[in-house]
Amino acid sequence: MLKGKVFKYGENVDTDAIIPARYLNVSEPAELAKHCMEDIDLDFVKKVATGDIIVATTNFGCGSSREHAPIAIKASGVSCVIARSFARIFFRNAINIGLPVLECAEAVDCTSAGDILEVDLSNGKIKNLNNGKEFTAEPYPDFMGELISAGGLIAYTEKRLGKK
């Protein structure tokens, strides 16, 4: 069970906002985390604690294909991202690196910044502890579920190629 306080953002949070390209001359997760969300929320890095949850509206993670974006979010301690919708490359990248991403419009609409959410990844249940409301995220397609339970794309590929 994940539990954390909510950082809430609006629509079209792009990957330049999540991690500006000027920091992409390195790829170490801890270095990237230092600048996560910097251009739209200078306080994020100061306030984020392990387990916290990002909630956003539509098209979260639009823009470039930089995997540095979900890596920076994950390394900053965020336990999952909940949005009405995700940009497709960001969604793929997040699944591949093991950052849980959930689509749930109702949870987004009924959650404010600073609320505490509980998330059960095994069944997609989301509970807002501030208003007591409960929601269920869109289930993953079967194939993606398989990918997640294998431990991500690299572990899945190792298994496919008989390397593990």
Partner: protein, 417 residues
């Protein structure tokens, strides 16, 4: 089936495919660059294979922070170079290097009917050649380098039909900005965009590359064109291997059909901070600019430079504007030199750079200070995209960027006397 469905079916051993289906797709080319390859290489090594699936089908291009902008960037480029040489894959060292999405088609590394995946969101550019190409992250590319295939969810296809004849100064950039302005930055989310119509038939290859390039700015998985005489002429002396031309079926099923009459549209400008925030150039008044950038994987091709030169010839860049022109490849640079375009640019007071993605992503070669504004032929105008989070980027075609460089404020080339 739509064009994309045909290509994906052929690459996954299926007779038919429908949107929403998950398939394993054989890839013809796997791409990464100096920013995305380092993570891909690290992940590739974790899989436990020694060699990429086929060195002739893997390519790395150090184009983002190169020629190396600082020590950290140099370390990343070094890692890419060493891996590329060890694996004997396609690799473009400085001197041969150009912007990846310009040089792959130029070198015949992408052909009609192929499937290309790249760790760069603008990989969708090759749809101009009738290929299915799409961007993904480094880990997906690592797996594709190991296996030669990739999992894909078949996207629904939206058909866009552009009726009418294009006006003067109107090109692929205006059509795609107009489209994104209409449908929004997630208007084609998870979907393939298939481009049709008279205006498309008339568009030259460079304009089609521009349009396909920005499909991602509408959230698209791909932006694709049918192969025609112009496509075949483009690849004629470039193709070194067999390829297949696919056509969408007459009864293909589209998620939506969107039609535009483009005969009356004006040059488009996407205002800060979204590519969908578009306006006709004449609706902008007194937007003073500090910089003009002409180049990138969107508009760094020969036709783009010709257009900029047409406007700049015999004129001078406003003394308060920095005009930076970046040919997309060494070949284009050389052609521009032969045609006298480079001389036109330098005489006009512009600076000409070696090929690089540089300023487009706020990397180097033209970073903006707080409060500065730039008109740019690039593809994104997000907060902080070209430098300071307090700077602003306006997206436009090369003629508008060149005209604005002359006056110092955003203006239509039509207004330049």
């Amino acid at each position: 089936m739509t064009l994309i469905e045909k290509i994906l079916a052929a690459h996954s051993g299926k007779k038919t495919l429908a949107p929403g289906q998950f398939v394993n797709v054989r890839v013809d080319m796997v791409l990464s660059n100096d920013i995305t390859a380092p993570i891909a290489i690290k992940e590739f090594k974790k899989i436990g294979v020694d060699k990429v699936f086929d060195p002739s089908k893997v390519v790395m291009v150090p184009d983002h922070f190169t020629p190396n902008k600082d020590i950290a960037a140099a370390e990343q480029a070094k890692m890419v170079r060493e891996f590329a040489l060890e694996q004997k894959i396609n690799y473009f060292e400085i001197g041969k290097m150009g912007i990846e999405h310009v040089i792959l088609p130029e070198s015949g590394l992408v052909l009609p009917g192929e499937v290309v995946v790249g760790a760069d969101s603008h990989t969708c550019t090759y749809g101009a050649l009738g290929a299915f190409s799409t961007g993904m992250g480094s880990t997906d590319i690592a797996a594709a380098m190991a296996t030669g295939d990739v999992w894909m969810k078949v996207p629904p296809t939206i058909k866009f039909v552009y009726h009418g004849k294009l006006g003067k100064w109107i090109g692929g950039k205006d059509l795609i900005l107009y489209t994104i302005g209409d449908i929004g930055v997630d208007g084609a989310l998870y979907s393939a965009m298939e481009f049709h119509g008279r205006a498309i038939d008339e568009l030259d290859m460079d304009g089609r590359f521009t349009m396909a390039n920005m499909a991602i700015e509408a959230g698209g998985k791909a932006g694709i064109f049918k192969v025609d005489k112009k496509t075949l002429a483009y690849i004629k002396n470039k193709a070194k291997r067999e390829y297949t031309v696919y056509e969408p079926d007459a009864d293909a099923s589209y998620a939506n059909v969107i039609e535009y009459d483009v005969s009356k549209i004006e040059p488009q400008v996407a205002c800060p901070h979204l590519p969908s925030n578009t306006k006709p150039v004449n609706k902008l008044s007194d937007v003073r600019i500090d910089q003009a950038v002409i180049g990138s994987c969107t508009n760094g091709r020969l036709d783009d430079l010709r257009l900029a030169a047409l406007v700049l010839k015999g004129r001078h860049v406003n003394p308060q504007v920095r005009c930076i022109i970046i040919p997309g490849s060494q070949k284009i640079y050389m052609e521009a030199l032969k045609e006298g375009l480079i001389e036109t640019f330098i005489k006009a007071g512009a600076v000409v750079s070696t090929p690089t993605c540089g300023p487009c992503l706020g990397g180097h070669m033209g970073i903006l200070a707080a409060g500065e504004k730039c008109i740019s032929t690039t593809n994104r105008n997000f907060v902080g995209r070209m430098g300071s989070p307090k700077s602003e980027v306006y997206l436009a075609n090369p003629a508008v960027a060149a005209a604005s460089a002359i006056t110092g404020y955003i203006i239509s080339p039509e207004e330049i006397k």
